[in-house]
């Protein structure tokens, strides 16, 4: 795990805190900032550090465990699993791709509404592609 690996939540965001934790942790897992066999803080530790209810963190960890990213065991904490990328069939893949496009368009529209120019959005997407390739 890189030393800089952190979770950042904002209580004023519309998105629920457990969703924010899931999204950020998944991003760190995909990008390799948190690697297989790394140990994450316990539910209690992360909840105290963030100042949110234990159940909020437990929900987030459970969601990621269901996705196959984490292994939660009582007494031994939370460990990152070596996750095999799923191999969806053609129909599931089409659905996932459609969902991805829809969310990407919604996000781009939201960012444009907040004042980001198309050029900036394109630049950010290009840099994201570089990260994913690496």
């Amino acid at each position: 795990m890189t030393n800089a690996a952190q979770i950042r939540i904002d209580l004023n965001f519309a998105a629920p805190v457990n969703r924010q934790i899931v999204d950020q942790l998944r991003t760190l897992l995909v990008e390799g900032a948190v690697a297989p066999d790394d140990t994450l803080p316990s539910v209690r530790r992360l909840a105290i550090d963030l100042g949110v209810h234990f159940n909020t963190v437990a929900d987030a960890y459970r969601t990621l465990a269901e996705e196959g990213w984490l292994e939660i065991s009582h007494g031994r904490g939370v460990r990152v699993r070596k996750r095999q990328a799923p191999r969806p069939d053609r129909e599931t893949l089409d659905e996932t791709l459609a969902h991805f496009r829809r969310r990407l368009r919604q996000l781009a529209a939201e960012m444009r509404a907040q004042g980001l120019s198309p050029a900036i959005i394109a630049r950010e997407l290009a840099s994201l592609v570089e990260v994913l390739k690496s």
């Binding site: 952190q6 979770i7 939540i9 904002d10 965001f13 942790l25 994450l40 803080p41």
Partner: protein, 342 residues
Amino acid sequence: MTADSLMLCVLLLLIALLLNWLPLWRRSSLWFGVTVAPDFRNTPDARRVLRQYRIEIWVVSLIAWLLLWAGIRWEAAWMFAAGPILQALGAAVAFARGRNRTQPHAQHPAGARTATLAAASEHLPGGPVAIVVPYVMLAAVAIFLRANWERLPRRFPVHWGIDGTADRWAERTWSSVDGPLLAGLLVVALLHVLGALIVTASPRARMAETAEWTARFRRANLRMIVALGWTLAALFGVLALNPYLSRGDALVVPIWLVLAVVLAVTAGFIWPIIRISQESGSGSDGTPDECWKFGQIYYNPNDPALMVEKRFGIGYTINFGNRASWLLIGLLVLIALVPLLL
């Protein structure tokens, strides 16, 4: 004037001096328990709040001294006791008034919070050895006293005045001989419980930019707890050995030396905490202002932390909104009652 009353007068003066400086020993974005801009402390408004607080502190301390003097002069016990109580209450009111004056300059913090994903690896400084040593000291004294039971006087002093004159005696029983060791054991255990709670039940840092500062602040507090554990175990051990070492009613170690050692160790370990507290860039503590009652009592049922940094004073305080806090308070009351039960 007796030595006791002289000691109390000096104590009131020391507390007044401490209260005079206490509001300055806090994070850079806190002023009288209110979250403000980091450079607010250098503004005329901030200086005015501090000046008014200090005037109130010294006025109330002067009244406390007068009450003390009157209590001595007319031998009125209630006046004697009222002085320190008035000073403590006056300080709380002065701080709360300072907080109210600072409120118009409050900067409502954003809801952003951060947490490191590094698994918890913090321990009390010195590791298990540093924790065990005070218990070993106390146990060694207990074994030594048991081995030399017959050499202990059948009656010996167990309490002394400030001037070192014995004023209470006890027969040689297990509770009178081992009493100081049991008291030492409870005090050391309480310190270690508090240290463990700081490690496990207080936030490491809720603002990414203050993580390094917070880690050093925590470390300095934990070092003080470990050092006090050693010091108090040694003092209670020496006190328990007094009937064996002393000839007559005198204390082997003079009371002034005991106080001086405790004060020196405390001051030596508090000084780094004060220096860290005065550094710029320490930001805020990530707790909501509205959950600080009178700026001093933290009550936040939505915060799972049991311990949080104090906003007025040095060290950590309890989150009274956490149910476990009442267990901790119960434990403190129990420890305070043990000497009465023995």
